[in-house]
Amino acid sequence: MFLLDTNIVIGILRKREEILEKYKKLSEKNQKIYLTTYSLSEIYLVFKDQDFKKKFPEKRKIQKKLFNKLVELLKSQNRIIALSIKDAKKLGDLFYILKVNGSPIPVLDAIIGAIAISRNLIVLTSDKNHFETVKQLISEFKVEFW
């Protein structure tokens, strides 16, 4: 089972060929593929982008509407994950490990990482830097870099 980072979700929606091909193969195998509410919030941030608002006001509205529909469909398939109490415990452990090792990473990366560890999911991301740190510190953390 897999957990998509925001960059992979956007890669699919941008039709980035390399990401899309890999994702199609995974989807064809009927693998359970999740994403987090935190990735959704990052994408909702997009619709607040001033450049986007100014240059393409109508397009932005339509894309937001369609994105809302996509979220509803994913929700109906139970593919959107938020932080549970069990995940929060793992996140606390991860915060501590990162701190004592002097390896700060973005909080959102830590949240996604903790959810993946807690639920035994493989993170799919194109951000090698920070998830590599988690991988080095926690052996049970699984990640693939696309």
Binding site: I12, R14, K24, S27, L45, F67, P106, V107
Partner: protein
Amino acid sequence: MMTQKTISLNEKTYNMLKKLKRENETYSDLITRLCKLQDPSSNDPLLEYSGLFSEDPELWDEIEKVIKDHRKSHLTSEID
């Protein structure tokens, strides 16, 4: 106006389709429904919506940078 195509079916296949056809469903609807079952992308909303952000690549490169910078601006070391 949508064009019509005629296809031939043997009796066995026709009877199989007839059994699967729902009330108020046309044979076109039925065949579309069956085709969708065979197409994994139709069951995956992310594939169905791929291309939603495919226009204006330069703008989206910028937007992705905004997301990346926003994420980097909140590091775990700031939590004590």
